[in-house]
Amino acid sequence: MSAVRKGAGRLWSVRIAGGVVGLLAGVFLAATVWAQQLVADLSSHLIAITTGFTGTEVVLFGTTDGAGDVAIVVTGPRTPVTVRRKERIAGIWINARSVRFEQVPGYYMVATNRPLDQFVGRPVLERHQIGLPNLQLGPREQLAPDQLALFRSALIRNKQRAGLYGITLGQVAFLGERLFRTNIYFPANVPTGLYNVEALLIRDGEVVSAQTTPLVVSKVGFSAEIYDFARNQPMIYGVAAVIGAIAAGWLAGAIFRRV
């Protein structure tokens, strides 16, 4: 009974958190809209990972005050990642060199209405970390630049393989002169946490307007219960797992005795 109530409580707290984030975004929007040449919002500010979660799509839509290009940058929570390189030692491939990156986004995607190099220069891209080549990952080790570049591209390649970094630029579609929209896809293995969705309006090679919208990715319901249980009471979780397994084995044995 209490577990059920706790579950419902958690679901509510997540909903409220999502709502508050949305509200904040709304207030932020309203307060700055008079000066903003770009306004954008998401179809949802909360991605709920339930037991049946297989990935989801969020629609970003917005409007500009006229000419210009739009770039959307979605960045997941940043965590440390270790990249290891295997080398052949005594005939077998084992991990040899490793490099740790401190600030690696769990998710990264860029969408634009036309190829980046057609409307914006390198300095702007670097300053706003637009595009994978300009993403700052915070390598900890001091390495020769060519070696570091190898590890860096390996990290990005592995993330792309996992579907967490965009392989190509996403497409921002303009509906008429000012209205634009794009779909952002989040795969089933999307990491949880607070995401930043940045919309940039670029005119004559400069960012003239920018807006950041938060997005929460959170486990809810049964999968959240299990995750919290395993994190907060690991020992009791382990005991429960063992008892459950013994019961299941016993049950199956009892059922099959009749057969």
Partner: protein
């Protein structure tokens, strides 16, 4: 049908996992081995992180062993006394194994160490079993061949602390089954497997135990070592995914029941030859992976090391 695994943080096809559990459970019931040595590579193959594959596996092996033991128990094929002695050794082995695991993890070589130990143990034991079982089959075909000695004496039988195991009709040193249990416990901790593929031949060839009792007794012992491994993994690494374990064990317990029945129809030598071929095949596959240049020599890990 996709199901999201809360600890592994990924979505898998439920039917695929159920099928994998069923297949491995069938083999487990048939040969009296836990089947972990097959399940770990299978889980990693479908994209489950190795640490979670190992931890979850220990959990599902508890269920598979319980249901397997029940079937053997009803046939009176469990030597509890011998099992308990093995278990005492197994506890010590598990603790030592966890200690070794943590050292390997610290120096960043746990993956290679796991694969190498798989190749080594599976390769050696598989080959030995294969040779022995083929010989036994040939001997059976040629009845004129000289009969082997009923009981061979090795230095192992001169060890102190002799104990009588009535059920198995053995009078041997307690250190022997305890030592076998200890090695089994280490395998549970390091490789995330029940260790049945090692326990079964060791009990047959080193203890000279009656073959009929081996499967039940090793499963009995495996229940406890895997339960302990589950606890340790859940408490220290949080790598036990109960959702994944549930899927695996539903498939596993059902498969194990059919496997036990099928195993009853097989002759000892045939079953051993089949198991040996399977073990050698897995060892060869893993050895191949270790020697072949990987598609990408770089790997990434988000876990703290």
């Amino acid at each position: 049908m996709q199901v999201y695994l809360p600890i592994a943080e990924m979505s898998v096809n439920a039917l695929l996992v159920l099928g994998m559990g069923g297949l491995v459970g069938f083999l487990s019931g048939m040969f009296g081995v836990g089947g972990g040595f097959l399940m770990t590579p299978l889980l990693i193959f479908i994209g489950v992180p190795p640490a979670i594959a190992v931890g979850t596996q220990a959990n599902q092996l508890v269920a598979a062993s319980v249901s397997g033991v029940l079937a053997h128990w009803r046939r009176g094929n469990v030597d509890v006394k011998l099992g308990v002695v093995m278990l005492l050794g197994g506890m010590v082995g598990t603790v030592v194994g966890v200690w070794i695991f943590s050292i390997l993890q610290r120096i960043g070589q746990i993956d290679a160490a796991i694969t190498l130990s798989y190749v080594f143990f599976l390769g050696t034991i598989g080959t030995m079993m294969m040779v022995e079982a083929s010989r036994a089959l040939i001997r059976r075909r040629a009845p004129t061949a000289k009969r082997g000695k009923l009981h061979r004496h090795m230095w192992l039988h001169g060890l102190p602390l002799k104990m009588r195991f009535q059920r198995s009709k053995l009078y041997i040193s307690a250190l022997l089954p305890a030592g076998i249990g200890a090695v089994g416990g280490m395998l549970v901790a390091i490789m995330g497997i029940g260790g049945g593929f090692m326990l079964v031949p060791a009990m047959i060839y080193l203890l000279n135990m009656p073959t009929g009792l081996v499967a039940g007794t090793s499963l009995f012992q495996i229940i406890f070592t895997t339960a302990m491994a589950t606890l340790l993994q859940a408490a220290t690494n949080q790598t036990v995914d109960v959702m994944l374990a549930l899927l695996l064990l539903i498939g596993g317990v059902v498969g194990a029941q059919f496997g036990t029945k099928a195993g009853g129809r097989l002759r000892g030598e045939q079953a051993r030859l089949l198991l040996a071929s399977l073990v050698v095949a897995v060892a060869l596959k893993l050895a191949f992976d270790l020697v072949m240049e990987p598609n990408d020599v770089f790997t990434i890990s988000t876990r703290m090391s």
